[in-house]
Amino acid sequence: MRQNRAVELGTGLFVLLGIGALLFLTTQTTGRNDFSAAETYVVEARFENVGSLKKRSPVAMSGVTIGRVTDIQFDSDALEAVVTLIIDSRYDQIPDDSDASILTAGLLGSQYIGLQAGGSETYLEEGSEIYLTQSAVILENLIGKFLVQGSSDD
């Protein structure tokens, strides 16, 4: 009975606006490079200490984000952390002796994995493991080292 055209128009606009806002929120506020499973390949890396690395932390090479962390688990036999990453399939020529380090971006320290290219002629592919890894720098250890070194100078 409420066939008023102005009402229908207004409601339509409102709903469109609302859905637009929802889309905005889901796309523009979250990681834009949301690598979907289809165009990526999975790679593993083991670390002694992952610091504050989280799932979805970015994986970068030469400063460019090429993938992200999908899982962090603890291997209780080898007593080390196992990090699973996915890398965009476009970058399929990463030497398999590249090293992966856990670095800190910006001052507030959200951590990411930085890959440094090696020289190998074989490349990382689905299921490869990165063998050369550098754990996260733990501030306390650094200070501890500094103190020890400092005192041994006396």
Binding site: F14, G18, L22, L25, G106, S110
Partner: protein, 256 residues
Amino acid sequence: MNLLRELWRSVAEFLRTFGAMALFFVDLLRYSPSTLFKRFNLVVYQVFNAGALSIVIIMVCGLFVGGVLGLQAFANLERFNAEEATGILAGFALVKEIGPVITALLFAGRAGTALASEIGLMKATDQLSAMEMMAVNPMHRVLVPRFLGGIISMPLLTAVFTMVGLLGAHLVAVEMQGVDVGAYWQQLQQTMDLDDVYEGITKSIVFGVVASLLAVWEGYNAVPTAEGVGRATTRTVVGTAIAVLILDFMITAYLL
């Protein structure tokens, strides 16, 4: 001894009301599918009534709340030399908390009172009785459309509020305070998860259900006098505010 009995009576009364409201809620749900199919145009009109007509207040408030968040975030992060995190602070606050909660409160004030007073007035002027007499179920025609209209409108309003808020914070941070545009959005995007956005949306849906249920309930059970309708609208706002804030705590605690 008398005090205890009074206390018990209040508790019993509260439980009784709560139970009645729960049954009412189930009734509303029961009539929802048939209302959607047979009287969709009524629902559309109520979405307009509750949502489209609230959009102005939502956008204006969203802009300024976002702006204030931007101001505060920047000013307080400056002490730690962490101004680039302004985007993160404002963004998280808006998406997860401020957006859903403030939208719910604004909704209760503008749309909730409108719904409650409309229904209360219909009750006071015998329109609901007349409908029942004409063998038309007021559920289908009056109550469920307003209930659904509110539920559909709330998440949409929250999304608009949050989006405008983010833009407001952006304006303040980037234009007024000189935070780097790239840093602002990039830090936000890297830190925020889809899960965080979902949390905000979930809250808005829950708040929408609560606010709509309370408004329709108070209107339907209002004392059929002018004074009664007034009291019903007051109770709608107060009740929604309390319920939303308590639920917000519970949902946040559960999801963290």
